[in-house]
Amino acid sequence: MSEGAASEGGRGSSTARGTGTPRPRARRWRRLAGPQNRTLWFWAFVGPFTLGLIVFTYVPLGWSVYLSFFDAHNTVSPTDFVGFDNYTSMLKNDAFTDSLWTFVVFTAFIVPTTFVLSLSLALMVNRMRRAQAFLRSVFFLPAACSYVVAALIWKMSIFNGVRFGLANTVLGWFGADQTAWLSTTDPPWYWLVIVTVRLWLQAGFYMILFLAGLQRISPTLYEAAAVDGARPGWQVLRHITLPQLRTTSVAVVLLLVINAFQAFDEFYNLLSDARGYPPYARPPLVYLYYTALGQGQNLGLGSAGAVLLALIIAVVTIGQARWFGLGKKED
């Protein structure tokens, strides 16, 4: 049956190539096309995508790597080869290493917080009999908002530093002074703003992932547990629900970490101004953006930093995947 389809395809392709083709060429063609034309079919399906990826991701990527070995101020076709100078000066640059620390702090905070919040939301929403769809929508809706819109609401309305900001108004009812949330470095209130905006935008999406995971758990497991005398609540959660959610949890953590690495939009929209960006809460992408795209346009140095960052991301992601036992061949 698959045999029939494949040989039909094989005949078709050789006739398509013209009947006058000498035999050796036909044989080479056959070999390239693979058994039952599988190679051919594989590339018919995967080829367009891969080609686009090469043109629009790998070519620019290679170009970036190339730039990172040159003194490339305001040019993408540099001539001044500098070897690893850009890399060494980037690694010696406090601003860059600080930005890596910023990223570590941010990840250490945002990943567990989002994880716990979205899991709790899923657990609670899942057990609601009435209004489940409504609550799910409420928590999921923010995922439709852009960082531009969310940052706008956070910066201009909730956490602005003046008396008509919502947070300051509420605190004012209790007699507290107005706080400049985004401008205060001691204590670092800006983290509250940055973390809450991301929580609001993302928690609903991960809640949906957890909900889907919860709905896959077979009810018989719970019935069995009830028979064994397990109390609904903590015991069931610990011994049945959480272990059953393991694959979902692993995927959520991986996605959260990748997303944290790519953090740019909310930082940029919350903290940048016409004159640049403050030296705190500056994650690597924001720093590189200013290095490579600002008026300074030091493309060589910026590319070197970007390559370093991509290497770090690769190491962390692969390490994480190994740790969770992923990346083995699935079937």
Binding site: T75, N160, V162, S183, D273, Y280, Y289
Partner: protein, 419 residues
């Protein structure tokens, strides 16, 4: 092949769709006179009503080329920097520069001959940063300046006069601060961005000396910057306003008694507050200091990748050198700027009375412009340090030492390139 004709047709149609919609936002669909080559001219987005219509009117009035104006929202410097790498960028564009690297990299054209005979009529302070190797790389459009706005009534209530020294500014700001109104607004970052090198000039120093050395390797610099920390620590500064220092809203809304802003804000302030405001320069810092106000100019430059270099230069010459009535209109009718031409500035009635006249006087007596050698990399290093001094209480001396080191390295780099 089992890929039948229908699916081939379908994917062909999808491709065709993508190709077809490529042309429906094609450039140059302005529908204007259509004479001569097509030029595209970029402006950053001005906040003052009517500016965009005005520059389009100028462009339409030009007969020798079909000029399409593009009004760019968002991060203008980044957008132009990226666009200059390609042929699809602007032909003529205004730039808060150009930067030394843009000039050295040959990204902008030499416009010296456009100013033949009228060079002396341009404000020398703002022409200097557009000049490199004796050649001119952009034509200043208008002179912008920043200064301190204060509410006369609030100062009078507190028994204060406009501050004459930086120490006095700190005291006055503290005295004016109440539970609902802050004393001073220097921008949401506490002043690091808006003030820039101003406190250094107020301390009698410079960013870069005339012979290309670091101009603030001096103990007076640390003393001046420490005062800014005092402002922050006293909680006299307004921080986290919805709009930044360039917008007079915070001042007009009564969130602050004094604000650092631009001359461009003057009409809006006047409209809202009438006579209840005055303007001052940034006060002198320390015994060797003198009052300072930053002046600067967006310049009109021509991209070296333009397909119509001569036509673009002709247009710039026409608009920013010959058409003095347009230059006057642009400077004075939308917001408030000082004309870049000395002859026009003298004739500008709007600038001869009240706070506007004070502002012009400050600009001539205490104006300074950021030198061309003060590159973006140096600015970032300095601004980071300033922010740490103001907000985190970092030690000014050690912060400045590391800035001096970075700026010297940067100056060496650009000098090496030019030799």
């Amino acid at each position: 092949m089992t890929i039948d004709r229908r699916t081939l047709l379908a994917s062909g149609a999808a491709l065709g769709l993508l190709t077809a919609c490529g042309s429906n936002t094609g450039r140059g669909g302005d529908g204007s006179d259509g004479e001569g080559p097509k030029l595209s001219q970029w402006y950053h987005q001005y906040g003052e009503a009517g500016t965009e219509q005005a520059v389009k009117r100028y462009a339409d009035a030009y007969g020798k080329a079909d000029v399409a104006v593009q009004w760019r929202p968002g991060n203008y410097d980044e957008q132009t920097a990226a666009a200059l790498l390609t042929k699809s960028g602007p032909d003529v564009f205004e730039v808060n520069g150009p930067t030394l690297d843009q000039i050295q990299g040959g990204q902008v054209l030499d416009l010296t001959d456009l100013l033949d005979g009228v060079r002396d009529d341009f404000n020398p302070a703002v022409l200097a940063p557009k000049t490199y190797d004796g050649r001119i790389w952009a034509i200043p459009q208008v002179v912008d300046m920043q200064l301190l706005y204060y509410r006369k009534s609030l100062l009078a209530d507190a028994g204060r006069t406009p501050p004459k020294s930086l120490g006095e500014l700190v005291d006055t700001a503290r005295a004016l601060t109440t539970k609902k109104v802050k004393g001073l607004f220097l921008g949401n970052d506490g002043g690091a961005g808006a003030l820039g090198g101003t406190p250094l000039y107020a301390a009698g120093l410079q960013l870069v000396t005339d012979d290309g050395k670091v101009g603030f390797d001096d103990p007076a610099a640390a003393r001046a910057l420490a005062h800014l920390r005092d402002l922050y620590e006293d909680k006299s500064l307004l921080l986290g306003a919805p709009s930044d220092w360039s917008d007079p809203s915070a001042f007009v809304q009564g969130l602050t008694a004094m604000q650092w802003s631009g001359l461009w804000a003057l009409p809006a302030v006047k409209k809202a507050l009438g006579d209840d405001f005055g303007v001052a320069a940034f006060p002198a810092a320390g015994p060797g200091g003198k009052a300072a106000v930053p002046v600067g100019a967006y310049g009109s430059a021509v991209s070296a990748r333009s397909a119509h270099k001569q036509a673009a230069k002709d247009f710039v010459k026409w608009l920013w050198v010959e058409k003095t009535d347009y230059q006057r209109d642009f400077a004075l009718s939308y917001g408030f700027h000082i004309p870049a031409r000395l002859s026009l500035a003298k004739k500008a009635d709007a600038l001869t009375e009240g706070p506007a006249a004070d502002a012009v006087r400050h600009s001539t007596e205490s104006g300074f412009a950021e030198p061309l050698l003060w590159t973006p990399a140096s600015r970032v290093a300095y601004q980071d340090a300033l922010s740490r001094i103001i907000k985190s209480g970092a030690n000014p001396e050690s912060e400045l030492r590391s800035v001096v080191r970075k700026v010297s390295a940067e100056l060496d780099r650009v000098k090496k390139k030019s030799s």
